[in-house]
Subunit: 410 residues, 2 copies
């Protein structure tokens, strides 16, 4: 077989970017793979739309046409919807094709089944483009950290949310104004729910969890919150405290317990994600031998995502078997201190002015209705249940109230 | 063959870290490689020194003992000196062993010959630990960016220099005081020349160049400067201009021309390496499809380096052939603007108070004897030849003098 035949499902930003990159990097692909890559067919929805696709390529609205191609080696899926994409990919695997997907929602829901099916059929699965666009985080976890035991992954996985938080801080915009700026710049959809409510980051976090830990937490146990509660006033207070709001997905294994959250948190300038601004994405991986490494780069866009897909093409064409994501990684020695819930530092904001009435360890009264407290999570949640107006955000890392107070006094 | 037999040359920080990690991660290694890894022998220099090495391991001062082992699959080299290490590794390859090295000076000098020899003998070469410690930059360039054409690599590759620059800025220390702090913290040798004069970063840059571009520039054409010219006053001025001094290795291909420099430069807060502080290392890779990605992490230390070596062990045991680093990558379309030398922005500092007499485009008179100018490099160098007291540092990226002046006025 002297040619690798590829079908592309969907011809939006990702599909087209991939198609164009195959043309522009024909030589490189041939040099790496030893064979020419040819796009055999493209699945589209609307036949009327003009597209710049070579005449020899079959353009169809019917997946059966693709499945019935005489030769088909790789199916690249760049559709947004969860269904019927999943069933397409299942059929592709059953036909013996390697699959590559950029569809995070679908892969978060069906990744495990697809990986198991691929393993059974001895084909390979590429999903670098599902998380953090062009940053090779999936491949780093899959190919480069083989012996290291990953203990924690923290990531800024949604560029839209990060852009909004950055604009709010830098340009003193309200949430609504920053969202509008994001929409005007093409960084947010007309309906931004998926991004600003944390769903997009949640799906990506679940994909990372499966890869890094071989399992996912129960989805219902994952705290998921978006950035819509963050006001200019909160951003401003955080700034004065030397902190920044970041929407961070955290997946962590301690002992046999896997926990995850996807929500706004406060970080100080020592935190590896503090400086990640605008539409950039970044992932910080903590593993036992190397310690912390951070990968940063473009989390979206036509060519960064095409880069992820095309590097996956090399990966799957090397016929790499599915080995990760199927069984939980082994227990992590948690040490005794992990067995009880730990105190964390929180910024709480509320109408609850007489917070002193509650049995909670206040370490700083920042301003009216805003406090920094130390408490275990249950205490904070109790406080919340007693007072629905309460907003609370964990401060990651060490918080040095004395030096921060000195700053406030300046 | 049910066991992988490894010899370790050198039992300093890296050698011992690797040895201990093999013990602690025996299970993970077996799971990944499908075979047990056993350290068969350790080469040391001083037989009298107490070492915590299992009794079954041969500990010898004679490399011949190692070469004559009945089974030997991988030789891990963790010696500092260039010679006779090179000849040891040559012999190991000729015997059919995979080799792994952490020795940047040796590999910068002899990497190409070792890669060619390894290719001839069908063995694999791991050298992740030569550059940026635990950050998987070698593997990212080698395994993850296959189709992307790398155009530029920028890196903070020497933790000691970065630590000194950070301390000078944050704690207002002189160079001498910051160097002493580095030495007290174990981040600098008693003789720090190799670090602070840029030799260490230079070797690492040449290794990256070979990997990313398949060749190195002529070593004599590479501008190499350390950080010893950086005074507190310069750091202070930079700070007020919103800039930071960073010791950065830059390797860049434009057209068919490969250029490199390893020297202190000034960067603004938009530059991806601006926020890299202390002993951290970071590498920013610009390639044509994905754009910019940055990897950051621990550049040195027992376990970060051991991590690099042990992940290399997995790589070489997969019998990966040598494919990169042997022939130059193809020409990069430079566009017409690259053909003439471009104007850059520079901070120049000198006793040359009457700089107005020179035909140079001054865009800002920062303070007495300190100017920001725009000029092509030749002009700056001419100025330097006319006035040996002149110090000049390029400012990378856009420099917006208006907003900076406004800051200075604050």
């Amino acid at each position: 077989m002297s040619v690798i035949k590829v079908a592309i499902l969907g011809f939006g930003t990702v599909g087209e970017g991939f198609y164009r990159t195959i043309q522009s990097h024909e030589e490189e692909l041939k040099a790496v793979l030893g064979r020419k890559v040819e796009v055999a067919a493209v699945l589209i929805r609307n036949k009327q739309k003009e597209r710049d696709i070579n005449k020899e390529v079959i353009v169809t609205t019917d997946f059966t046409d693709i499945l019935n191609l005489p030769q088909l080696d790789v199916v690249v899926e760049a559709i947004v919807d969860k269904d019927p994409t999943y069933s397409f990919l299942k059929k592709a695997i059953q036909r013996g094709c390697h699959i590559i997907t950029a569809n995070k929602e679908m892969f978060a829901h069906h990744g495990q089944e697809l990986l198991e099916l691929a393993k059974k059929h001895n084909v390979s699965v590429g999903y670098e483009a599902t998380v953090a666009g062009g940053i090779p985080v999936i491949q780093t976890l899959r190919q480069l950290l083989n012996v290291n035991r990953v203990q924690q992954v923290q990531g800024i996985l949604n560029g839209t949310s990060n852009f909004i938080l950055t604009e709010m801080r830098e340009k003193k915009l309200s949430f609504a104004e920053a969202l509008r700026a994001a929409q005007e710049n093409g960084f947010a959809e007309a309906d931004p729910t998926n991004d600003v409510e944390g769903f997009d980051a949640f799906y990506k976090a679940m994909i990372l969890s499966r890869l890094a830990f071989g399992e996912e937490p129960n989805w219902h146990d994952v705290e998921r919150a978006g950035i819509t509660s963050i006001t200019s006033k909160l951003i401003d207070t955080a700034e004065r405290l030397g902190l920044r709001f970041k929407h961070i997905a955290i997946i962590r294994k301690s002992g046999n317990q896997l926990t995850a959250s996807v929500k706004p948190v406060l970080v100080g300038k020592e935190h590896p994600l503090y400086h990640v601004e605008g539409v950039q994405n970044a992932v910080n991986i903590y593993s036992d031998i190397v310690g912390q490494i951070t990968l940063q780069g473009p989390g979206a866009g036509m060519f960064p995502t095409a880069s992820a897909v095309i590097e996956d093409l090399v990966y799957v064409c090397q016929n790499r078997p599915v080995t990760q994501g199927l069984t939980p990684t082994k227990e992590i020695n948690a040490g005794s201190q992990e067995l009880i819930q730990q105190e964390e530092t929180w910024l709480i904001s509320s109408l609850l002015k007489n917070v002193n009435n509650y049995s909670i360890n206040i370490i700083e009264h920042v301003e009216e209705g805003m406090f920094i407290v130390k408490a275990v999570k249950d205490e904070i949640e109790n406080l919340f249940h007693q007072n629905g107006e309460l907003l609370y955000y964990p401060i990651l890392g060490d918080y040095d109230s004395e030096s921060k107070l000195a700053k406030l006094a300046l």
